[in-house]
């Protein structure tokens, strides 16, 4: 068994590779190479690395947004590669929550409606939808803005709304790609605190991509990438702080 694998994993990547074809010229861009990764239920994992190191690409493969060139992703023991497009869509709808840096919400819909979207797509009843949406908004502390349109919210509020939407289906994992990238430090701290509380209070599994070492440090494990490969996996949280603090 490869060294990174855990026995009780909720998501597992085996030998993941992604090469982007470049139109006609050259052999293609190897964005991710030979990545093995295991994430346990309730874990908070941060992926860091320089720009272009393959963080987003890895996250997309874990979330069934892109298919790997080689290797496979097992989500709750389901091989994503074995699913057709509709099957993948169903997985995304029910088992995965996404938060991006920006453009997470449809501008036409109110916050509550945006949050309810995955359930609506899944064909849930109107009552179920709005109840679940309200619950999710309450969990991120945004109940009071439920009826507002996204463009009436601040960047931080929008991101909290996006997190609520990611949570509304009680997904197996929450994937976040630089959710604080477009926010100021106060808002960043708020969003981070929210993610931490979700992990702590609800046992939510979170995989977070970030540039910011301060934010990465809040995670339980930190995966460092370079040139498409995982170069190092270190414990985060106090452990990481401890290792960094030690030489001081």
């Amino acid at each position: 068994m490869p060294p990174n694998f855990l026995p009780s994993s909720i998501v597992r990547a085996e030998g993941l590779e992604k090469t982007f074809a470049t139109a006609g010229v050259g052999p293609g861009v190897p964005a991710v190479q030979a990545v093995d990764l295991d994430v346990a239920r309730g874990e908070f994992v941060a992926i860091t690395g320089a720009s272009g190191s393959g963080k987003s690409t890895l996250l997309h493969m874990l979330g069934g947004i892109t298919r790997p060139s080689a290797g496979r992703v097992l989500l709750e023991d389901t091989d994503l590669a074995a699913l057709d497009d509709d099957g993948l869509a169903a997985i995304r709808r029910r088992r995965i929550g996404f938060v991006f840096q920006r453009y997470n919400l449809l501008p036409e819909l109110s916050l509550e409606e945006n949050v309810a979207l995955p359930l609506v797509l899944d064909g849930a009843t109107a009552a179920t939808c709005s109840e679940a949406a309200r619950e999710a908004l309450a969990a991120v502390g945004m109940s009071h803005r439920a009826a507002h349109r996204p463009d009436a919210l601040s960047g931080g509020e929008q991101q909290r709304g996006a997190i609520a939407r990611a949570l509304v289906t009680s997904p197996a994992i929450l994937l976040a790609d630089e959710p604080t990238g477009a926010l100021d430090s106060v808002n960043s701290a708020n969003v981070l605190a929210l993610l931490q509380s979700l992990v702590r209070d609800r046992g939510q599994t979170v995989i977070l991509v970030t540039h910011d070492p301060g934010i990465a440090a809040a995670a339980g494990r930190i995966v460092r990438m370079r040139d498409g490969r995982i170069v190092e996996i270190v414990p985060g949280g106090s452990a990481a702080c401890a290792t960094e603090a030690a030489p001081r």
């Binding site: 869509a89 169903a90 996404f98 453009y103 997470n104 036409e108 409606e113 995955p118 609506v120 899944d122």
Partner: protein, 840 residues
């Protein structure tokens, strides 16, 4: 909340987008409805003119071997569908002795005049139909030339009676109204009276069946033939497929083309609108997919929206189309000078239009819906749309080849007469699709080349405009598709119609190049042996008039060739004048030589109907005699619809005994035509002839021709209006999509003027490129229509390249697209700088 709530939200949030899409459907449906109704109005108008020229369409029943037959042999025909009346006819020469001692010989026809007047098949200018033994009707023009009126009396000698019968003119026949059965007879008796006078009880020459205007003549002919005993035949008489029908045939084909192409255009417009409507929401759809929406959900979303917008647009479009059709139809009626045409609005047109909008919209949404789900999720989420693929897409090459092949095979089948001529329309439209499909292939080089002509001072604007056009190949193809249709419509039909019209006018110019036409009443029967002397005298008299440049005599009679009726024209053409016939596969000199040898030449329509070819020897039956005649060549001729045989007068005399000159063509010295009116009228009065001014005929032909041409232009104009809306839509879309780029450019110092110029240039380049491809498509369309007309006309029509038509259409395309840039240019200039930079 359901997914369609999202739809409602999107409409409420961006009503402009939904409205613009529905408006595109409305424009497309309106164009189809208006074109459809206008084309119908044109067809009806053409039909009326054809009737006015041809008279009432008829089918003749006559004895198989020629001669008379017993009327009792004829089964009843009145209940055959499409039959208005079956009219037994007898023709006899009749001598009329006037009280002042003048004697004239006329062809008389015996009919049941009372019934005909009652049925509206015979119109009287004055008096009553003849019913008694001592009553007759005279053609009003003849009566005038004789100085007779209602109530006047004259003597009519009858066989085996020593004393001529004294008869009274009971009424005057409106000139032309008896033309459909009288065959030139200007005296009308009751059929029983004429029978008694000629001692031929119950024998008729033929039964002429009047066919309802909306019935198909060949079908009626077949139905009648099925009932006849073997010794009788049903035929369409030779004189009845006239020039008018030929012009109209091509015009009708043109109308079919326009209607079909408008439907194609509707697809392009709606397709384009749908594509943009969906493309604009690319990120939204991608986000939905990211959240787990299946491809089917997205497609259903797009299709539902298309269906609703399509039906709504269809409803509005139908109303607008009906509104537009009114004035257009009225204008067409005016152009055709057809009285009170009006257009019938069928009650089904509204639901049909809504259904059309619905279907077109749903069909047009198919591709964008597919695109929305087929693109890469992450690409769809990206801020800017992906750059266009490099190289020529294989799909388009396959489409071009496929469409072209289908069109060519179809056309080959039409030419080989496996398919009817009308089937050329779907073929032509398929060919046009092939041209539209070349757009993504041809557009880059064309736009680049056109870019060279952009002045240096506009380099930046030109570059940006070019880039804009090339980055969205499908959108550009759909936009230029609309223009290609409009331009090729204009050029193709412009050429086809003008060629046809020129063909007819060319014949007219050759055949009727005189100023005045003098004819004997009853000329077609060649009964007047005595008239040949008379006409020589007339000819001499006319020649002696001051101001006469030349006089030409024509002998005309009817006969039968290979079982079909034909008109025989005896005419000498002076060597210094052009031959009034257009030889097919022969030179004019060869034709003259053949005629001089005593051979005949046959009209192409006659040749087609009877199967005779150049070089054949055929039996021609005239005046009961059958003589062999050699057909030296075929010629284009519209006399009697081209079912004619032409010989020299000397040949006619020796072969058929045809001596008379029934028609004198008088040409005046330049500018002196009107001077001749009075002296000619005097001569005509003295010799019981009828004088017609060629100007009247010319005016009538001009009127038809002008009407045909104008009505087509009106309909084509519609195409350009619709095309301009399509371009406006596309360029607006390009502007909105480039909001960010434009904002950035403005931020770094691009002026409003530059932005405007860029947008206008983009429009112009689209217009010019679409115009050029449309030009090629149009010329091919013209050849297509002409090739399809060939089996009917029996001869090819030359396709003449007409720079005027081409330039008008190109100019229209460019003007229309430049105008179309106005709205998007305003949008572009008004974009809020900050907002467009932060646009996400």
């Amino acid at each position: 909340m359901r997914l369609w709530h999202l739809l409602l939200r999107q409409w409420r949030n961006r009503p402009g987008r939904a409205l613009a899409t529905a408006a595109s459907v409305a424009v497309a449906v309106a164009a189809v409805v208006a074109t459809w109704i206008s084309a119908d109005a044109s067809r009806a108008g053409y039909g009326r003119i054809a009737e006015a020229l041809d008279g009432i369409p008829v089918v003749d029943v006559s004895a198989r071997g020629g001669g008379r037959f017993v009327i009792d042999e004829l089964p009843p025909l009145a209940d055959v569908p499409g039959v208005r009346a079956a009219v037994p006819l007898i023709y006899r020469p009749a001598r009329l002795l006037l009280d002042d001692g003048r004697r004239i010989t006329q062809l008389a026809v015996g009919v049941d005049a009372v019934s005909l007047v009652r049925l509206g098949l015979l119109e009287l200018e004055a008096g009553e139909p003849c019913r008694d033994v001592d009553e007759l009707l005279l053609d009003a023009a003849l009566a005038r030339s004789l100085g007779l009126g209602v109530g006047d009396e004259l003597l009519v000698p009858a066989r085996r009676r020593l004393i001529p019968r004294r008869m009274r003119v009971s009424g005057l026949v409106k000139p032309g109204s008896a033309g459909w059965f009288a065959e030139g007879a200007d005296v009308v008796f009751d059929i029983q009276v004429l029978e008694a006078m000629s001692l031929a009880t119950a024998l008729v020459d033929r039964v002429r069946v009047a066919v309802a205007a909306d019935a198909s003549r060949p079908k009626v002919q077949q139905a009648i033939a099925a009932r006849l005993p073997t010794n009788l035949v049903a035929e369409i008489p030779a004189g009845q497929a006239s020039m008018a029908e030929d012009v109209l045939h091509s015009a009708n084909l043109g109308l079919d083309f326009v209607t079909g192409l408008t439907v194609a255009m509707a697809f392009f417009i709606v397709g384009n609108a749908m594509l943009m409507n969906v493309t604009e929401r690319r990120r939204g759809f991608s986000l939905l997919r990211l959240l787990g929406a299946t491809a089917r959900q997205i497609r259903r979303f797009v299709t539902t929206e298309a269906a609703i917008l399509g039906a709504a647009g269809g409803l509005v479009g139908a109303a607008a189309g009906l509104a537009a059709a009114g004035p257009i139809s009225a204008g067409i009626a005016r152009a055709l000078q057809a009285p009170a045409l009006g257009f019938a609005v069928q009650p089904w047109i509204l639901p049909a239009a809504v259904l059309l909008g619905f279907l077109v919209a749903v069909a047009a949404a198919w591709w964008p819906a597919r695109e929305a789900t087929a693109i890469d999720l992450l690409e769809g989420l990206a801020a800017a749309p992906a750059p266009p693929p490099q190289g020529v897409p294989l799909t388009f090459i396959l489409a071009v080849v496929g469409f072209a092949l289908i069109a060519l095979v179809n056309q080959a089948l039409v030419i080989l007469e496996v398919l009817p001529p009308r089937m050329t329309v779907p073929g032509g439209i398929t060919l046009l699709l092939a041209f539209v499909a070349t757009t993504p292939i041809l557009l880059p080089p064309i736009v680049r080349v056109l870019g060279w002509f952009v002045p240096r001072s506009l380099r930046i604007e030109g570059m940006l405009a070019t880039e804009q056009i090339l980055r969205q190949p499908v959108r550009t193809a759909l936009t230029t598709g609309v223009l290609i249709v409009a331009v090729s419509n204009g050029i193709g039909l412009g050429h086809a119609i003008r060629d046809n019209v020129d063909d007819v006018l060319g014949w007219y110019g050759r055949m009727m190049r005189a100023d005045w036409v003098l004819s004997h009443a009853g000329m077609l029967q060649g009964v007047a042996e005595a008239q040949s002397l008379d006409s020589k005298e007339v000819e001499k008299e006319v020649r002696a008039l001051p101001g006469v440049a030349s006089v030409e005599g024509l002998g005309v009679t009817t006969g039968r060739v290979a079982g079909g009726a034909c008109v025989i024209v005896a005419r000498d053409v002076p060597a210094d004048q052009p031959l009034p016939l257009l030889p097919v596969d022969a030179t004019e000199a060869e034709l003259r030589a053949a005629l001089d040898r005593g051979d005949a030449v046959a009209g192409t329509v006659l040749a087609r109907r009877t199967g005779i070819k150049a070089g054949d020897e055929v039996s021609v039956e005239v005046f009961g005699r059958t003589v062999p005649v050699k057909i030296a060549a075929l010629v284009v001729d519209y006399t009697s619809g081209g079912a004619s045989l032409h010989v020299r007068r000397e040949t006619a005399r020796s072969l058929f005994g045809l001596r008379s000159a029934d028609i004198l063509l008088v040409t005046a010295e330049p500018g002196r035509s009107e001077e001749l009116r009075e002296p000619l009228e005097r001569i005509v009065a003295d010799h019981t002839m009828i004088l017609r001014s060629f100007g009247e005929v010319q005016r009538f032909v001009d009127r038809i021709v002008g009407g045909v041409v104008n009505s087509l232009w009106a309909i084509l104009g519609l195409g350009f209006v619709v095309g301009s809306l399509g371009v406006a839509n596309t360029v607006t879309m390009n502007v909105l999509e480039k909001k960010r780029t434009l904002g950035l450019l403005r931020a770094v110092g691009m002026t409003r003027g530059q932005v405007t110029r860029m947008v206008v240039l983009e429009s112009l380049l689209l217009g010019a490129a679409g115009g050029l491809i449309g030009l090629a498509a149009g010329l091919v369309t013209a050849v297509f229509i002409q090739l399809a007309s060939q089996p009917l006309l029996g001869h090819p029509i030359n396709v003449t390249f007409r720079p005027g038509v081409v330039l008008t259409n190109l100019a229209a395309a460019i003007a229309v697209t430049t105008l179309a840039a106005w709205l998007p240019a305003r949008r572009a200039v008004r974009l809020d700088l900050l907002e467009s930079i932060s646009a996400e």
